[in-house]
């Protein structure tokens, strides 16, 4: 019982990271994902790091089962039960457009077609007071239809259920009684206890749509692991960046929707903790760049940047979710000429045909081709040598475009990278502007196959002086899961203009949430001394809509005299930090109470990487700033001491480019730290 194991099951590969509690050794490996029977790939990957599952003391994984079902529109068949007169809320979808100049705009196609929506009589008012009783016959009619027509799930979203769940709860009872275990019944107030009926309906529908798939999958994984002797519960990463055990995830499957990718952000959180020390509250920008994708997320004050809502595939979800921003198209972005101008992206060559250098028929130059032409990618080492690159094809693609623009091909190749880097940097800057923070205050944590290749250039554009390339940049999401806490988020709608606030009532409500959170943590097997609950309240000035989440000292704080002044001042401070101004004299209002329970796992420091191998150094010609530099290419495992750029560091899953003027060192955690001079 001495291995802690994390696994990130992606579309193509399953990454696994294993931590040996006895020696502190960390190992990473990967195996192809096996879509037919995922367990096969999981055990293949596991077999590379641990001999006997019974030796595992902690197991966590990220799954994309729910997300894949959504992306491929292969989720459950859902019957939606809505309030009478509001059945079309889900179809109308708030009526907005995302694109301004489009005469042919279409909303995302609803996951439940209009004919599969039924209405239930009964109505509550804005305070949750009943003024039309629930029409139980209409609920039974829905149950009958679900049974007769073989629906997999029923989602229920009744107006004002967040204020008073009684009608929904009763409808749930009837449906469960009539339908039994075979049909998943989802109640909106259990998924998202927040106002706004369309967003809550959408959340409930998404849970109903993806839930059956996720539940089946988790049940299978647990069973297979138990058969192999795993003695501890399977944990799952949630979209919030926190962990839960599988039995909870089966009850709230929606929370696992972005399970995989948020591991990287949690890795960023852990990296910040290791770099700056526990409690130092560092800031980091996490960039995950692959062949065709570029995702950015933020760590602010040592915490992941988590939103209370998000849109996935155009569908809103009300749940805590790590903000992942997909920008441009990464290494696959195509460069082209338009009216004499050079453009890079957003069109991507994708995986097929892919960049010209993949040799799969692509002829248009991409960012990856530009990197190859500049010598920044060692064709022999691309993707750990698993893939051969056609450097000549890359050169030809770049040369053709250079002819169109009347530019020297190498200048163009560098220009393509410069434009791509500038665009990525600008998009990152806008994200930080939204938080009212300057990017200079951040470290740039780069992972994914291509992240470390561009990181130093992006950092320079942003005025960032420190790039961190973690160990196993290709398996960083899995590593992040290993370092995450158990997390349970609870909300309580609490709409109160300041003149109607009862401080003691607010405190009492926080107390109830705290009890609920502690109970939930103990159900997750977190011992008493490792539980903690944090409280915060969503606030705004009267008339505003966006809220800021303002932390409280503890559940008792609202009961203290002078609380209103204290919290208003704290809000004004947060408002100034975020927006640059505040109106201290304006009245505030409270919207939502939020309590989050955390359960931490014991962590011990990782041992340094194995003793350096031979410095298998080679030298290549690489272009930087328009000139050829004779550049050493080094194996990462063999690095020690200081390494001045230009240099290229290769490892199985990633390439790090250290431009001239930058200096890299390996820190005690095994991170490669690149100091970037402006």
């Amino acid at each position: 019982m001495s291995y802690r194991v994390a696994m990130d099951i992606g579309g193509t590969f399953t990454d696994v990271v294993c931590y040996d509690e006895r020696t502190g050794a960390v190992t990473a490996s990967k195996a192809p994902t096996t879509p037919g029977d995922l367990a096969e790939g999981v055990f293949a990957a596991l077999g590379r790091v641990v001999d006997d599952p019974a030796e595992i003391s902690f197991f966590v994984h990220g799954t994309t089962q729910g997300l894949n079902a959504l992306l491929e529109r292969k989720g459950a068949r859902v019957l939606l039960l809505a309030s009478e007169g509001g059945g079309d809320v889900y179809q109308i979808a708030r009526g907005n457009r995302d694109r301004m100049f489009d005469l042919r705009y279409r909303k995302p196609v609803p996951l439940v077609p209009r004919q599969d929506v039924m209405e239930a009589g009964g109505r509550l008012d804005y305070l949750g007071r009943e003024f039309v009783p629930l029409d139980e016959a209409s609920v039974r009619a829905a149950a009958r239809r679900a049974r007769e027509e073989g629906f997999d799930a029923v989602a229920v979203c009744l107006l004002f259920a967040y204020a008073n769940p009684a009608h929904e709860a009763r409808a749930g009872e009837i449906l469960r009684e009539e339908l039994g275990e075979g049909v998943l019944v989802v109640l909106s107030h259990e998924v998202a206890r927040e106002w706004r009926e369309y967003e809550r309906t959408s959340s409930a529908v998404l849970e109903a749509y993806t839930g059956p798939v996720v539940r089946r999958y988790l049940a299978r994984v647990e069973r297979r692991f138990a058969e192999r002797g795993l003695a501890v519960p399977v944990h799952v990463m949630q979209s919030s960046g926190g962990l839960v055990n599988a039995s909870y995830a089966m009850r709230r499957p929606l929370q696992t929707l972005l399970s995989g990718p948020v591991g990287g952000t949690m890795g960023g959180v852990a990296a910040t903790r290791l770099l700056r020390g526990e409690g130092a509250r560092g800031n980091a920008i996490c960039i995950d760049m692959g062949g065709t994708s570029f995702d950015v997320s933020l760590v602010v004050n040592g915490r992941p940047d988590v939103s209370a809502e998000a849109r996935i595939e155009g569908y809103p979800v009300l749940m805590p979710i790590v903000n992942l921003h997909t920008i441009g198209a990464g290494g696959g972005s195509i460069a082209y000429a338009e009216a004499g101008a050079l453009r890079v992206g957003p069109e991507s060559a994708g995986a097929v045909p892919g960049p010209a250098c993949y040799g799969r028929g692509g002829t248009r130059p991409t960012v990856t081709d530009a990197n190859v032409a500049l010598g920044r990618v060692d064709p022999a080492w691309f993707a750990g040598g698993l893939m051969e690159l056609d450097a000549e094809a890359a050169g030809e693609a770049v040369a053709t475009l250079a002819g169109e623009l009347d530019l020297d091909p190498l200048l163009l190749a560098e220009g393509i990278c410069d434009v791509a880097n500038a665009k990525m940097a600008q998009a990152i800057r806008t994200l930080t502007v939204e938080h009212g923070i300057e990017p200079r205050e951040f470290a740039l944590v780069a992972f994914g196959g291509a992240g470390p290749m561009h990181a130093a250039f992006i950092a320079r554009e942003l005025g960032i002086s420190e790039v961190v390339v973690p160990r196993f940049p290709g398996a960083f999401s899995a590593w992040g899961m290993l370092e995450a806490d158990v997390r349970r988020d609870l909300t309580h709608p609490y709409f109160r203009p300041q003149d109607t606030l009862n401080r003691h009532d607010m405190s009492r409500n926080f107390g109830l949430l705290e009890e609920e959170a502690l109970t939930a943590l103990s159900a997750q097997g977190v011992p008493e001394d490792r539980r903690r609950v944090e409280h915060a309240v969503d606030m705004r000035y009267e008339g505003q809509d966006y809220t800021l989440t303002i932390p409280l000292r503890d559940a008792a704080e609202p009961a203290e005299p002078g609380f209103l002044e204290t919290i208003a001042a704290r809000y004004a401070e947060a408002h100034t930090a975020r927006y640059g101004h505040a109106t201290p004299e304006a009245p505030v209002e409270f919207v939502m109470l939020r309590s989050t329970g955390f359960g931490s796992f014991p962590r011990t420091a990782a041992a340094p990487a194995q003793a350096p191998e031979e410095r298998a150094e080679r030298v290549r010609d690489v272009i930087f700033d328009g000139a050829v530099h004779s550049t050493p290419v080094l194996r990462r495992a063999g690095l020690d001491g200081e390494l001045a750029g230009p240099a290229i560091v290769v490892e199985e899953t990633a390439t790090t480019v250290i431009p001239p003027g930058c200096v890299a060192t390996v820190d005690p955690n095994g991170f490669l730290i690149v100091k970037v001079n402006p």
Partner: protein
């Protein structure tokens, strides 16, 4: 100028505008800005050309520069001083209603004027005779505080006098001054970004890049226009009325002349400026034409100072589209929505691969105001209503979607509306069978039914009953809107436009918006599509 540097500078300017917009939207006080995105920003060069812009509302496209231009015309270039911020909302300059306030400031780099940062945002109230704006105003002097070009910050410090004037003339001073501050921070963000860009590359390089960027854009625009066959293209429609003389429809005629690489749009043949508030300044008519042009001709071409060089627009002073003082302008957008649709209609025969049939057309405003019996506080609720969009070759129009003029506006959730205001929403549903028939059908309108829980004062602005959404290529027209007070009860009445009508607690208001036009003959609609419509209950037959 090397294309790499040019492209990096171009992206940096666009991103600077995005940052300005982010700052404005995230820090504004009123939902009309952060929710309805009733705002726009632009970074301008010192000759008032657009370097980068970001718009929440299409209708604000490319006319923020009229404000800096007019200020300079009046007071000379030497009027610009570092740290100053200006404000302007004059309808005859900016083109829109007084609620749209433009805030702009010069940007100096090393003591030299380098450009301007500007934003326009809709203020909730500017002190018109009715809260939020009137539907029956007959002169600009009933519509609120009118500000020419005036300084609101001087040398980086707020001008107290003007702040007092604003605070004393609007109904919600906290929120209004909050929005003003948001616009000032937006201008500061623009200043900071442009300074960074100039500091990095030098003013000379930035100007050379600018010239190249504009030239590239102009080439793309000219290529797009050249692909349209030369000729004269026309379309006509009618606004229902001006909100005062309810029986007199107002004509809008568009004549577009395409010759080689340029396009001229003649708007002179339209109604004279009206008694009611359906007038706009010429700048806004130009902006509307640009929106129609952008939608149809060059939606993929970047927006900047090179964008509209081959496009000229002619208006007639004293007409509804180039109104003069003291014409009322509160509902400046109804005929502009129509104008945009008419530009599309005129060019549809030669650009069938981009066109679509008409949409339901206007914002369809429901406004009610009174004292909330639950709290004793005064409230104003104003909502735009979704409707059906037009079909095109290959696709049905979307159902229940916000109108073209209204950008990213989202409807008000029932749960939020009932919490904030003394009202209940009895139904909110698709209005089946209202999209125009066709091989591709028009989108359906919506039904939204309110029951008032306290006495209130009701104002309505529903349009397009005279010219409902037309079909294209043989497709049918969409249904017009219909609004009924107390449907099915004794004394029930139909209304489309009304100002401050007293209604009682318990009264029911049923609002039905129109559908979009169809495309192609209905008999060519596929059997599967017809069956799917029936299954989904989207048609009534």
């Amino acid at each position: 100028m090397d294309p790499v540097t040019t492209e990096i500078i171009r992206c940096a300017l666009l991103q600077a505008a995005e940052d300005m917009n982010t700052t404005l939207i995230r820090s504004s006080y009123t939902p009309v800005i952060y929710e309805a995105k009733d705002c726009a920003v632009a970074l301008l060069d010192r000759d008032h050309n657009v370097l980068g812009q970001s718009s929440g509302l299409p209708i604000f496209l490319g006319n923020l520069e009229v404000c800096t231009r007019e200020t300079e015309r009046r007071y000379g270039r030497e009027v610009w001083e570092e740290g100053d911020v200006w404000v302007l909302n004059d309808s005859y300059i900016g083109g829109t209603h007084l609620n749209d306030v433009t805030v702009y400031g010069p940007i100096f780099v090393d003591g030299e004027l380098a450009g301007f940062a500007a934003s326009r945002a809709h203020w909730l109230d500017v002190g018109s005779k009715d809260p939020g704006g009137s539907m029956d105003s007959t002169s600009i002097f009933q519509e609120g505080l009118r500000m020419g070009p005036v300084k609101v910050y001087a040398g980086g410090e707020p001008c107290r006098d003007l702040h007092e004037v604003i605070a004393g003339n609007v109904r919600f001073p906290h929120a209004t001054l909050g929005d003003l501050r948001a616009q000032v921070s937006c201008a500061m963000t623009g200043q900071r970004r442009l300074k960074e860009i100039v500091a990095r590359w030098g003013l000379e390089t930035v100007l050379a890049a600018r010239d190249e960027i504009f030239a590239q854009t102009e080439r793309m625009e000219r290529t797009a226009i050249a692909a349209i066959p030369d000729g004269i293209y026309q379309a006509s429609g009618h606004l229902d009325n001006d909100g005062i003389d309810l029986d007199v429809p107002l004509p809008v005629n568009v004549t577009i002349a395409v010759a080689g690489e340029s396009m001229h749009v003649d708007l002179t043949d339209c109604a004279d400026q009206a008694t009611g508030p359906v007038n706009c300044g010429a700048a806004q008519a130009v902006a509307a034409v640009r929106v129609g042009y952008k939608l149809l001709v060059s939606s993929d071409v970047p927006l900047n100072g090179g964008s509209f060089r081959p496009l000229t627009v002619e208006t007639r002073p004293g007409s509804m589209l180039a109104a003069e003082s003291p014409a009322a302008c509160q509902y400046y957008y109804s005929h502009l929505g129509l104008l945009i649709d008419l530009v599309v209609r005129a060019l549809a025969p030669v650009l069938p691969e981009k066109a679509a049939a008409a949409s339901y057309g206007d914002s369809m405003i429901v406004q009610f105001t009174g004292t909330d019996p639950r709290t004793g506080k005064v409230y104003v609720s104003q909502e735009a209503t979704v409707g059906g969009w037009g079909a095109w070759e290959g696709g049905d129009g979307e159902d229940c979607l916000i109108n073209n003029v209204n950008g990213a506006l989202r409807d008000m959730p029932i749960e939020v509306l009932e919490t904030l205001f003394p009202v209940r929403v009895r139904r909110y549903e698709v209005r089946p069978g209202t999209g125009g028939a066709g091989q591709w059908r028009g989108g359906n309108g919506v039904v939204r039914e309110y029951e008032f829980c306290g006495d209130t004062s009701l104002s309505l602005w529903f349009e397009r009953s005279v010219t409902p959404a037309w079909g294209l290529a043989g497709g049918g027209a969409g249904a017009p809107p219909r609004v009924t007070l107390n449907p099915g009860r004794r004394g029930s009445r139909e209304l489309l436009k009304v100002n401050a009508l007293p209604v009682r607690a318990g009264d029911v208001l049923r609002c039905e918006t129109g559908g979009g036009g169809g495309y192609g003959p209905a008999e060519r609609r596929s059997a599967e599509a017809t069956a799917a419509d029936l299954a989904r209950g989207m048609t009534t037959g």
